[in-house]
């Protein structure tokens, strides 16, 4: 059994839960894996630091909660501060580089993306999370870009597919341009800078 745990965090309104939903859907429906998503509920979900977790496995997920994520997707400083210590030492950090300024451990793979700015350039800030998902798909490589892309298409409101897919593709493209073939080295280099 191999299991990958992911935490996504951001502030309310950024589409954290939808992001978790799309990753889960890509894994569970498109990639025939098991994926259990849990979202944070209650007052903490209505503003400030909002969070969703995913347990992705090739067999049934028996324990639904996560404690030490393998991948940490961060879209706000507050979320980063709240959950940063959980991330496994060799876990992958994926972050919104204009909103989050991480303190990186040595050798920790990390990938930053100006997802808000990219979303703005597409005309709608609201698709920031989908840019992030494209970037996540390309960087974390948990599930294929195609499966993620399909999940985006079938999860966003009808009529917004084109914009969202454009956002997704822009996120992927940013990864390819910035980290490209040599992502390991670049990631490590970024870590060292931190």
């Amino acid at each position: 059994m191999s299991r990958t745990d992911i935490r996504i965090t951001g502030f309310g309104g950024q589409g954290v839960v939808l992001s978790g939903y799309i990753i889960g859907r890509a894994c569970a429906i498109n990639a025939s894996q098991h994926a259990t998503m849990i979202q944070s509920f209650g007052p903490e979900a209505r503003g400030s630091a909002c969070s969703a977790t995913l347990a992705i496995s090739d067999s049934e997920v028996l324990y639904p909660y996560i404690s030490r994520p393998d991948v940490f997707v961060v879209m706000s400083t507050e979320g980063y501060d709240k959950y940063r210590d959980e991330l496994k030492d060799d876990g992958i950090l994926v972050y919104e580089q204009n909103l989050v300024h991480p303190t990186l451990k040595e050798g920790q793979p990390s990938f930053g993306v100006p997802s808000t700015r990219i979303a703005e350039s597409l005309g709608r800030t609201i698709v920031q999370n989908i840019v992030m998902l494209g970037f996540f798909a390309a960087s974390a490589q948990i599930v294929s870009r195609e499966d993620m892309r399909d999940a985006v298409k079938s999860s966003v409101p009808p009529g917004t597919e084109e914009l969202n897919l454009k956002a997704f593709d822009a996120g992927c493209a940013h990864f390819d341009e910035t980290y490209g073939e040599k992502k390991e080295e670049v990631g490590a280099a970024a870590a060292n800078q931190g």
Binding site: Y21, H34, M37, I38, E60, L62
Partner: protein
């Protein structure tokens, strides 16, 4: 008969347990829901209220859970399949008219997405501490049926069974989910409508003059006449005779109440459902249900690696409890281990049935989370000694 396709969202979905539960109700033919918002169950009625207008269903948000429960009992008497949805605090309020549903023999389903209690407790976090309330919560003697799903997929699948059982035995069926299952999103496959078997309301074919609303058939269950079909029946929460007329006597009570109980207890073998695994030759048998059953499997795997022969009974229908089966097992094993997210509820039933022939060990959890699998493994190791 087969399900009405209007309520069946055939396909593979990524849904949380609450949504899956709502889809299960609609697929089962539910067309009336009354509810009052309460965390962590509200998503069930949110789902239903969004989809009902497209399938001829009616949702009404009532002023409280007393009203919600009364409304579903009333609506069921029009032949409509009815649902209400709540969590612990609302479940307490519903007990009044759950008793009325039992007394009037009204088919309906009540969902309780359990959270930590007592009182307001932990609204957004899980618990399994309403299991005895599901059994004994309303006053007086009665028997109901309760199911407990362990996943969003089961929240869909077992909802169909819940509605079917309520029609078959004319009782309120309690659907004992928990916050963890309710708020967990997983793959849910909804089959085509023609693969979903539905038990319709069993209407009498007797003409109005000859119909007795509480004359039971061989199964202990009376035939049904719905309001507006000319039967002009009378039904009451008072002790009543076969005509449905109040009779204030010990004799009438002696006729009625044992029948209400026996229609469940005499059919335990037909109603009971549990998964059983490796109990043959086991030293220790886990008795578990709901979300805890999933977590427990990790503890079981850990204990098996240490050489313990562990079997599992996972209760799907929790009430009526499979008494005889636990009794039979008790004489063959060393101990039962019962993990549950409460401080000892279903374990009492296991202990009672074990009758001292096997030890019974509780693995408690006060609520707000699920067990650490290691704790379950440790209990199994202790039990095996």
């Amino acid at each position: 008969m087969k399900a009405d396709p209007a309520g069946v969202l055939t396909g593979a979905h990524y849904l949380d347990g609450d949504f899956a539960c709502g889809e299960g109700a609609m697929a089962a033919g539910c067309r009336f829901t009354a509810g009052y918002p309460i965390t962590p169950s509200t998503e069930v009625v949110e789902r239903i209220s969004r989809r009902f207008p497209m399938m001829g269903g009616t949702f009404i948000q009532m002023e409280d859970e007393l009203a919600s429960m009364a409304a579903v009992v009333g609506a069921s008497w029009t032949g409509t399949k009815c649902l209400t949805v709540t969590s612990g605090p609302g479940f307490s309020l519903m007990m009044e008219n759950i008793g009325l549903g039992a007394m009037m023999e009204t088919p309906l389903v009540v969902v309780n997405v359990q959270r930590g209690g007592p009182s307001t407790g932990l609204p957004t976090m899980t618990g399994q501490a309403d299991m005895m309330q599901a059994r004994w919560g309303s006053h007086g003697d009665y028997r109901l049926i309760a199911l407990s799903p362990q996943s969003p997929q089961e929240s869909f699948d077992l909802m169909i069974d819940a509605f079917n059982l309520s029609e078959e035995y004319r009782v309120p069926v309690l659907f004992m989910m928990d916050e963890c299952v309710g708020h967990m999103t997983e793959k849910v496959v909804i089959p085509p409508a023609d693969e979903i078997e539905i038990v319709p309301r069993k209407l009498t074919d007797k003409p109005p003059g000859e119909f007795l609303p509480y004359k039971a058939n061989g199964n202990g269950v009376p035939e049904f006449a719905r309001a507006g079909d000319g039967y002009r029946f009378h039904t009451t929460g008072l002790t009543h005779d076969e005509r449905g007329y109040p009779v204030m006597s010990a004799e009438c009570q002696e006729e009625l109440i044992p029948r209400l109980i026996n229609k469940i207890t005499d059919n335990v073998d037909k109603i009971s459902r549990f998964d059983e695994e490796n109990t043959d030759g086991a030293d220790v048998v886990l008795v578990t249900y709901g979300i805890t059953a999933r977590v427990a499997r990790m503890g079981i795997d850990m204990a098996r690696k240490k050489g313990v022969k562990v079997g599992v009974i996972r209760l799907i229908v929790v009430w009526p409890f499979p008494e005889q089966h636990i009794r039979d097992l008790a004489s063959k094993i060393k101990a039962f281990v019962v993990p549950e997210i409460n401080l000892g509820q279903m374990v009492l039933e296991v202990e009672r049935c074990a009758g001292g022939k096997a030890e019974t060990i509780l693995v408690p959890h006060a609520g707000g989370g699920v067990h650490n699998p290691q704790d379950i493994c440790d209990a199994i190791l202790r039990a095996a000694k």
